[in-house]
Symmetry: C2
Subunit: 240 residues, 2 copies
């Protein structure tokens, strides 16, 4: 936790907050913060700064807040991800939140196992928990928007064009002929398939919507690695 | 498992192998392979190809082998990584093996917890197990070399120069002024610090050895994400 994200309910006065639970335990037990220390904080969808510890126990921390900076720039990316298996979903949500993705669509695909849609990790509060961990890792405050699309065809035919707008449309697809472009300067909508990839019908539907197939070379990477490789390649490092 | 790595002990004749354990269970239970099916295989440090199933149970698989291709090109990278915490170590070893890194140094650093060096996951057979999983993911056969360096100063002063040779020397260090270069065409030796980063003394020692500090932007990424982002940025996608 490189920053604690503060929510409206944490604020006890204009420049005061009281935190409990995981965040209090982290500072009390992991960092050993003491009264008078400054700890890094950020206000949900707002500025970042520091909190001076006024009181601290393993149950709660009282802070005097001073905001002095802004969250890092969002990545100009809409990420459409075939729903990964639950264990990987949690890590991928943390990763993309840490890397500054602000719009994430979790999409069905032929090779997504039906049971993945039943996981409790898809409940809004569970998704939010992983996103918070990612934001705290990267010292960001802007909560990403996650949309669940459990049906491929109506999403691609009816909603994808409006979502992608004028952005560059790419689908990561191993075995295609074009390598993934590097350091591009425009917004991107990027689709990433499931383990085993999108089936040809799905790639065709995406190509019909103006998506270009690109690859990362001959190695097959797990989605948890393919996502940071693709994002690291597509965007200039100043975007991170 | 996108390919099963075969070891000399698996070979029962020139073009025959019998596999047991995890690999047999995978094909029998996960893929449901049957007699006559072809499954992807690779020979340790050798060619890739396929194996025709001659007999299969949950305990063992007999294969008739035919090799027809070569493993993907190695990445021209020596990766020097401050020893991550054990849970992350396992994932990072799989990731770097999957991405084609063939020389990995696990290095001590001031902020590496002493206890990390005691983990059973650093035993040669445990390291090898994670590397095999990474190779199988990426359909590679060339086993990486992992070197443990539990003392920072003698490694950097006495052995690093010979290890880095004429390669480009980079150290990933958040907060430095130069962004990480992109799509470079030469061999690289890359150092990545621990959670919390290298301390200034360590960065100075690396700079003394010709390493240039580069950053990935203002976001602080976990090492499991920083590694694929750095590798995706440094090397052309045809290298993967």
């Amino acid at each position: 936790m490189n920053l604690a994200l503060l929510f409206p309910a944490d604020l006890t006065a204009e420049n005061r907050a009281q935190l409990s639970g995981r965040r209090a335990r982290h500072w009390h037990e992991v960092t050993g913060a003491q009264v008078g220390d400054n700890v890094p904080v950020g206000l949900l969808n707002g500025p970042i700064g520091c909190g001076r510890v006024l009181a601290i126990t393993s149950q709660s921390v009282d802070l005097e807040l001073e905001f002095s900076g802004t969250a890092p720039e969002p990545l100009p990316l809409t990420l459409i991800l075939a729903l990964p298996r639950p264990k990987m979903l949690r890590r991928v949500l943390q990763t993309v939140a840490a890397m500054g993705v602000k719009k994430i669509v979790l999409l069905n695909s032929y090779k997504v196992e039906k049971s993945f849609w039943q996981t409790p990790w898809l409940k809004p509060e569970a998704i939010r928990e992983q996103l918070i961990l990612g934001l705290e890792q990267a010292r960001d405050t802007l909560m990403p928007d996650v949309i669940l699309e459990p049906r491929f065809k109506p999403f691609v035919e009816d909603r994808l064009a409006a979502l992608a707008g004028t952005s560059r449309r790419l689908v990561a697809h191993p075995g295609t002929s074009d390598p993934c472009p590097q350091a591009i300067q425009e917004p991107v909508t990027l689709c990433i398939g499931p383990e085993g990839g999108f089936i040809p019908y799905e790639v065709e539907k995406l190509v019909d919507q103006g998506f270009r197939s690109v690859h990362l070379g001959s190695r097959i990477l797990r989605v948890e690695n393919a996502v940071p490789v693709l994002l690291g390649r597509l965007f200039d490092s100043c975007s991170f």
